[in-house]
């Protein structure tokens, strides 16, 4: 079993993990350092710890999710917590119960952690005002997905040794993406240079205010980048409302071996999943273990979530 340092929880003023925007650089580094210690554990034969024994973790998922939900589920269990996952897309909310009422109900059961995914931006913030336990945001609307950004950072550090000084391109539907926002904040904070690439209709008009360079020409946006992060393009955006067609999107914004050549020679590819093969990314590239970090992202996601659960649990 790996050696786990006894470390105190994150200071009380930051009881909740609502977004990277609310995080200090020390807190972000602290989570990443903590997560590193769990990578080895997760690869060993005996993966179970008792750090959170006796603690109750509720996963509250208002939006369907496969990898984030299972990742949080597993992370809690490996730390010894009692984990309950509630799939809310077909639950009380449909009977007219508000988020606040649901929160009050669950709060009465004395959980120590609530992990929430919600389709509305700001829902975790609202929840955090009404419950006594820590709230961890597992994705809200198009606002933030902090653990995704943290796991992306850990994956990069694991391969490249550091983030400071790297050039990172984030490509795709920036407008609707919480993953893009959280990554922009975190990568900027950790000292990377960030380019964003998107068609004009999928780029927020005030994107420059976030301290990034924006491009509509992918080749220019990828120029000498060390990391290329691709985002998922949702189907409903492709049928004429934001873009003329899948075919045209792939031509100009899909990651192909041709376009990857413009990035740095040892550039690595990331994707938060699930992928639309042949739309935003060439299927062979996605599976090329020499350049694609997609599987590693999923693996390290569990470690990052274990770190968050440990540090934010009271």
């Amino acid at each position: 079993m790996a050696v786990i340092n006894k470390t105190s929880a994150i200071k009380s003023s930051t009881k909740h993990l609502l977004g990277i925007q609310n995080l200090s650089i020390q807190e972000a580094k602290r989570i990443l350092d903590e997560a590193k210690t769990f990578i080895k554990l997760n690869r060993s034969k005996s993966k179970k710890l008792d750090l959170l024994r006796g603690k109750t973790q509720i996963n509250l998922f208002f939006e369907p999710s496969t990898r984030t939900q299972s990742s949080f589920d597993l992370a809690g269990k490996r730390l010894g917590a009692d984990v309950m996952t509630m799939n809310m897309s077909n639950s009380a909310l449909k009977k007219g119960e508000t988020l606040i009422d649901t929160a009050m109900t669950l709060n009465a059961m004395h959980p120590d952690l609530i992990v929430i995914r919600h389709q509305d931006s700001g829902a975790p913030n609202l929840l955090s005002q009404k419950v006594n336990c820590s709230v961890i945001n597992a994705g809200d609307g198009r606002r933030e997905h902090p653990t995704q950004a943290l796991l992306d950072a850990l994956t990069i550090i694991n391969r490249k040794g550091k983030i400071e000084g790297l050039k990172i391109a984030i490509c795709g539907d920036i407008l609707h993406s919480r993953v893009a926002r959280s990554n922009i904040y975190l990568m900027n904070m950790l000292g990377a240079e960030v380019n964003v690439v998107a068609p004009k209709t999928l780029m927020p008009k005030s994107i420059d205010r976030l301290g990034v360079k924006s491009f509509t020409d992918m080749k220019k946006g990828l120029d000498s980048c060390d990391i290329v992060m691709m985002l998922r393009l949702q189907n409903e955006r492709m049928q004429g409302s934001f873009l003329p067609s899948k075919r045209e999107y792939y031509e100009y914004f899909g990651l192909s071996p041709d376009k990857l050549k413009f990035a740095s020679k040892d550039a690595l590819i990331m994707h938060p999943g699930p992928m639309n093969r042949g739309v935003e990314i060439d299927t062979k590239l996605a599976d090329d273990i020499n350049v694609s970090l997609v599987k590693e992202q999923v693996e390290l996601g569990v470690a990052v979530r274990m770190a968050c659960l440990k540090l934010y649990c009271k």
Binding site: L99, S121, G122, G141, R181, K205
Partner: protein, 429 residues
């Protein structure tokens, strides 16, 4: 009623370009008998009640062109009684009420109900609006003629806009013949779909769907273009952006006749005030940039914007304690309308007379009602306020039934002392 004399008042009445220290006499019928600096107290008998205003300011009672009264259907948010109390505490004596009740005021029998109920329960002058289209669906116009005959002051779909250009053209054509007032909310739905707040940095950071200023501008341009063909009495309820103001400037300079309103919220707040998802600041039209706010203030100064409204929209806790996108739109504001507007005087943005004008005589002229003035013979609807008294806004102290103020804890300067309605002292702080 006993005769009253209000002495030692600084009287500001823009309807007669008056700003002087003097007195005002209210006759037995609650009308203004005399006004100005030349009145001598000694001319009046001992039975006349005397109010010494100690050099505080006396203005015509405020005319608020846009407020929601919950009756019928939303009595839990507001009713005639609570709205009246809030209004009087804010120096407001005349209110144009919006028709977005349940059921919607779009037929004659509803008008009869609302007028009867208002007469019984309200202690302010009420001027009900009817909806512009049946069920506010933007398709079929309501009975402008019959409804006006029953006492409807104007026609508005409140927070909804007639999207179909042909329908709007016909409404304006028909209205131009009858001389009725059309009050338009200006918003293109396709451009504002799912929008919560201004489109910009804040909407990007909060992850909320933004509403571009184009959504407002394009309807203003459309309607003003139609107005050239169908010159009716046309009023834009509220504008929120510099771009809208530029269109209005161009059209007014070309001599086109129409009127424009703005909410006190858009004059006093900007999108940064939304902070960490404060749903009480979810408004329609949305709060925009500081630059837009400054333009709107300039618009008032340059006579491009005619009236300031409270856009009083009571919402209960249930409607507001929700994720931002699901939360109800609107804030209460009738009680704080004047004090918040006075902020623009204290920070030297606007002259005091201009502020009073936009709250009194201007709305009265647009509505064609004999209010907002203290000329001899008019109804003695009066607001008396201390220009400098400081106070802090606390929701639980406000009289409205709902507590969704957008300016909780704001430090204001200027306090209402007395409100007279038809010569009767209805509010005394």
């Amino acid at each position: 009623m006993k005769e009253k004399i209000l002495i030692n008042a600084r009287i500001i009445d823009p309807s007669q370009q008056m700003d002087e220290v003097g007195s005002l006499v209210i006759d037995n019928d609650g009308k203004v008998k005399e006004i100005g600096k030349d009145i001598k107290k000694s001319n009046y008998s001992k039975s006349t009640e005397v109010y010494d205003l100690q050099n505080n300011i006396l203005i015509p009672g405020i005319v608020d062109m846009k407020a929601f009264v919950g009756e019928p259907g939303f009595e839990y948010k507001e009713n005639f009684r609570t709205l009246s109390q809030a209004a009087l505490a804010g120096g407001v004596t005349s209110i144009v009420t919006t028709p977005n009740t349940n059921p919607i005021i779009d037929n004659v029998s509803m008008v009869d109900f609302i007028i009867r109920r208002g007469r019984d329960k309200a202690t302010v002058n009420l001027y009900p609006c009817a909806s512009l289209t049946k069920q506010m669906e933007g398709k079929l116009m309501t009975e402008f003629g019959l409804l006006s005959a029953r006492g409807i002051i104007g026609f508005s779909d409140v927070l909804r806009t007639v999207q179909n250009t042909e329908t709007m053209a016909r409404i304006m054509d028909y209205a131009s013949d009858l001389g009725v007032l059309i009050m338009q909310h200006v918003e293109d739905y396709e451009l504002s779909k799912n929008g919560c707040i201004n489109e910009g940095e804040i909407s990007m950071r909060l992850g909320l769907q933004g509403i571009s200023h184009i959504a407002e501008k394009i309807i203003i341009e459309r309607d003003l273009s139609l107005l050239s063909e169908f010159p009716c009495r046309y009023h834009i309820n509220q504008i929120s952006s510099e771009q809208s103001l530029n269109v209005i400037k161009k059209e007014k300079e070309n001599g086109k006749e129409f009127s424009v309103g703005v909410s006190i919220n858009n004059l006093s707040l900007n999108e940064n005030d939304i902070g960490d998802f404060k749903t009480f600041l979810k408004l329609s039209p949305p709060l925009r940039l500081e630059n837009d706010r400054l333009s709107l203030v300039e618009g008032i100064k340059n006579n491009l914007i005619d009236v300031i409204v409270s856009d009083h929209m009571p919402e209960d806790v249930e409607g507001k304690r929700l994720p931002f996108a699901q939360a109800a739109t609107g804030a209460i504001g009738i009680e704080t309308l004047l004090p918040l507007a006075l902020e623009l005087y204290h920070n030297e943005s606007l002259p005091l007379n201009r502020i009073i004008e936009t709250l009194t005589i201007n709305p009265s002229r647009i509505l064609k009602i004999n209010k907002g003035t203290l000329k001899k013979g008019s109804d003695a609807d009066i607001c008396v306020f201390d220009l400098n008294a400081p106070w802090v806004v606390k929701a639980d102290k406000l009289k409205s039934k709902s507590k969704n103020t957008a300016i909780e804890d704001r430090k204001l300067q200027g306090k209402i002392l007395m409100t007279f309605l038809n010569g009767k002292l209805e509010f005394n702080a």
